[in-house]
């Protein structure tokens, strides 16, 4: 009865109030108010986000949130995208699926990123969750089209199937035919990552035709241009569309067909795909360009003039992904045409070439920063940079929240002054007070880290490569960046001192990745022994780290906080530093 005295609202009212609170951070804050609120909140939390699948065990999650409907899990560290994490490292989703399948059958949504998903996992999902609605697999691997067939066949209420950037074993394109003829609830389908071999066009067409609620459709490369018209004709309500291969012999009937079908798509806001695009067919999309807010041309190998023409037709563009074929001249046009631009990503067309193949320099980025007042997120690959340009960019665009610059050749200095780019990046962190994500490149000394530690107070994720001179650099970051959650470092001369001096900081972060640095095995052992709530993983394909002198640097180091303790699914080349012997083998 004492409990009731403290509150004027019954639990149901509080629950109703909490139902308006969706963000995880807010939910977590709510749960910390008092025991009673903790209890109420945990019973009504419907969405769970686990940023590191090894930070907590499935059983712990299920015990605390007995009635969640949606789960998001992330597995491998970000650098796995660039082949820095050896195959077999981990990130298996099966144990999670198995636990959830046993706990309750009413799970509706699963979102996974960088995890290993097997056909068994997919089959278990299909079998266990009767009301399953959303499956989003982002950069996942380990499954084949057989697993997809199981999902298609069993999930009668499936609304979303999104396989962005996954590696799928393409055994057969006929998995699409496993969607029963009675199935009509599809709203979003992204199969752009599937192979180029065969595609079951008729099954695809029939599926599109009967799913009248379809809003997002991203096709794969196997779908040829002449088939696109047939598919689009049945789905004029599409909001997001990804073409397949955008090339064919130039034929007027194919062209007019295509143009006609695009003009009937009045809701289209986002386009992608465009593999092997030939410029002659691009004008077919002009009818929809004025409404486009998102355009992904990162596979479109067309030159600057054609890109300029296209971009000039899209005044409402908010998000553009493009190859560096756009060149500085194209970016200048972008800056003057697309005043609503918020996100820009420019990818290298020839990342491994020694000489620049296009005229894309820092000038393009400066132009866009000056011209687009809403620009807040940038990923830019180029071959030269100057402090002057970076300062201009920082001053003109203080609203950057994500700034990722990759100067292709490591340790490239300011091309005008031959100095390090410390001052330039320093300006970025100083002026952009809301910066949450930063990737550095070029010639950088410890000084840039001093700037970062001093100014980047809202920075959550930092990526560093080939930078710094000494432990001082790492120390600046770890001691200064209050909001830091993820730090990934490769090929920097950071060793034991900064790491050990800031060991407590590591418990406030999600994870730290260091590869090809100078952290010794002894330091790793010490960290593992002294910090029981950290998993300190040494990844070394050369063999056991204790077969070398203790002060030898380890190859790769991955440290993350965890309340689940060390994991037991590690491959032979991963060791967890533990309290006992300092060495634990899987």
């Amino acid at each position: 009865m004492l409990k009731k005295m403290a509150f004027s609202f019954p639990d149901e009212v509080l629950e109703h109030v909490f139902s308006f609170i969706q963000s995880d951070k807010d939910r977590n804050a709510v749960s910390m108010v008092c025991k009673s609120w903790y209890e109420i909140e945990r019973w009504c939390r419907r969405k769970v986000f686990v940023g590191n699948c090894y930070a907590v065990s499935p059983r712990m999650v299920i015990r605390r949130f007995p009635e969640f409907r949606s789960i998001e899990l992330k597995g491998k560290p970000h650098f796995a995208d660039f082949n820095l994490v050896p195959d077999g490292w981990g990130g298996y989703v099966f144990p999670w699926i198995a636990e959830m399948a046993g706990a309750y059958p009413w799970l509706e949504e699963i979102r996974l990123k960088r995890m290993v998903v097997t056909d068994e996992s997919l089959e278990l999902i299909a079998k266990s969750f009767k009301n399953f609605k959303v499956l989003v697999l982002s950069s996942c691997e380990g499954f084949s089209t057989d697993g997809l067939a199981a999902i298609a066949a069993s999930c009668k209420n499936l609304k979303e199937l999104d396989l962005r950037d996954c590696e799928v074993d393409d055994l057969s394109a006929h998995w699409l035919s496993h969607f029963p003829e009675t199935y009509t609830s599809l709203v979003s389908l992204n199969i752009s990552c599937l192979g180029s071999d065969e595609a079951s066009f008729s099954a695809l067409e029939r599926l599109v035709r009967r799913c009248t609620n379809l809003k997002t459709l991203r096709l794969n490369r196997a779908v040829p241009l002449d088939k696109i018209a047939n598919i689009l004709r049945h789905a004029p309500q599409l909001v997001e569309f990804g073409t397949g291969t955008y090339t064919a012999d130039v034929r007027p009937d194919v062209y007019s067909d295509l143009a006609g079908v695009f003009s009937s798509c009045k809701e289209l806001k986002s386009l992608s795909g465009f593999w092997d695009v030939i410029p002659d067919y691009l004008p077919a999309i002009y009818p929809v360009c004025s409404k486009l807010t998102s355009l992904n041309l990162s596979y479109a190998t067309i030159q600057s003039p054609d890109l300029i023409k296209l971009v000039s037709h899209c005044p409402n563009l908010q998000r553009l992904l493009v190859l560096d074929y756009i060149e500085d001249s194209g970016l200048e046009v972008l800056a003057s045409s697309c005043k609503d631009l918020q996100e820009l990503r420019v990818f290298p067309s020839d990342p491994f070439g020694a000489e620049p193949n296009v005229s894309l320099t820092e000038q393009g980025l400066v132009a866009v920063s000056l011209g687009c007042p809403k620009l807040q997120s940038v990923l830019y690959f180029c071959r030269r940079m100057s402090n002057e340009a970076l300062v201009t960019i920082a001053r003109s665009r203080p609203n950057f929240t994500r700034f990722r610059l990759c100067i292709i050749e490591p340790k490239t200095a300011d091309y005008l002054t031959l100095e390090p780019l410390d001052v330039g990046f320093g300006a970025i962190v100083q002026y952009c007070k809301d910066l949450r994500r930063l990737s550095l490149s070029g010639l950088l000394t410890d000084r840039v880290f001093e700037y970062i530690g001093t100014y980047a107070k809202k920075l959550e994720m930092l990526s560093v490569a080939f930078a710094g001179d000494s432990d001082l650099g790492l120390h600046h970051v770890l001691s200064g960046c209050e909001s830091l959650r993820k730090l990934e470092i490769r090929d920097c001369p950071f060793g034991d001192k900064a790491l050990l001096a800031n060991a407590a900081k590591l418990e406030t972060m999600r994870s730290l990745w260091m590869s090809s640095c100078a952290v010794s095995f002894a330091a790793c052992k010490l960290l593992g022994q002294k910090m029981p709530r950290l998993n300190v993983e040494v990844i070394d394909e050369r063999g056991p780290p204790d077969s070398r002198p203790e002060n030898c640097p380890v190859d790769k180091l991955y440290i993350y906080r965890s309340i689940a303790g060390p994991r037991f699914d590690m491959p032979p080349f991963v060791w967890t530093m533990d309290e006992d012997s300092g060495l634990r083998l899987s």
Partner: protein
């Protein structure tokens, strides 16, 4: 060897960073850092002498012939010398053939520049698939001297034409086509009729091609095997 751990109190760092004048960087930039970055040698035999120097910090000039030096700037403050990086590797990823999917416009292999290159640099995602396949092939070739599989799992999925249920078989238990076919025949209840094989053994290899198992030697089969499918042999 002692490593101090500044765990408990942030006011007692390992060495007093605050005392350092961060505006005067008295130490020179790292030497010897080429475009290939820093990596650790494959055999650490040569690294023991250099390892000693990296462990002792700037604050302790230690005994035992450490190689760390201290730089003193004009006001005689201690400025830690950059830790010497003495590990070099010319990482030589194998010069592989041109990638198989030629239709990818960006056909330049990751191992351009005379076969030397940095893993994962520049950080572009699309390369991942090609490289993984090639690396997997290389690893398989290197580790497969005795016909074992490179990957840790030895179970392979087997499907029979006309049978919806897929089975799994532990391929490491077999060392010849004879033993494999015998097991498969038992598993799927197939029998030879009049000495003629009623089913053919086909498999999906790493490259995504379906091949007839009898056309290749056992080693090749094992190395590149991903899935097995039994199809009816039509005579």
């Amino acid at each position: 060897m002692e490593l101090q751990l500044g765990l408990s109190l942030p006011s007692t760092p390992i060495f007093p960073f605050k005392m350092l004048d961060l505006n005067s960087y008295g130490y020179e930039l790292r030497e010897g850092l080429g475009p290939f970055g820093i990596n650790v040698n494959n055999n650490c035999g040569s690294c023991s002498s250099s390892c000693n120097s990296s462990s002792s910090g700037g604050a302790d000039d230690g005994g035992g012939g450490t190689k760390t030096r201290r730089l003193l700037d004009e006001e005689n403050r201690i400025v830690p010398k950059t830790l010497p990086l003495l590990f070099w590797t010319n990482q030589r990823p194998n010069d592989e053939d041109e990638p198989k999917d030629v239709d990818d416009h960006s056909s330049s292999a990751i191992f351009k520049n005379d076969g030397e290159g940095l893993v994962g640099w520049p950080p572009v995602k699309a390369w991942r698939k090609k490289v993984r396949r090639r690396v997997a092939n290389v690893r398989a070739a290197v580790e497969n001297s005795c016909g074992g599989r490179a990957s840790s799992s030895t179970y392979v999925k087997v499907k029979m034409e006309g049978n919806a249920i897929a089975r799994k078989i532990d391929i490491s238990l077999h060392h010849s086509f004879e033993s494999l076919t015998t097991t498969l025949m038992r598993m799927f209840d197939i029998s030879d009729e009049n000495g003629q094989k009623s089913f053919k053994l086909t498999y999906l290899d790493r490259e995504g091609d379906w091949l007839l198992a009898e056309d290749v030697p056992w080693r090749t089969f094992i190395r590149s095997l991903k899935y097995i499918k039994l199809i009816r042999s039509r005579c």
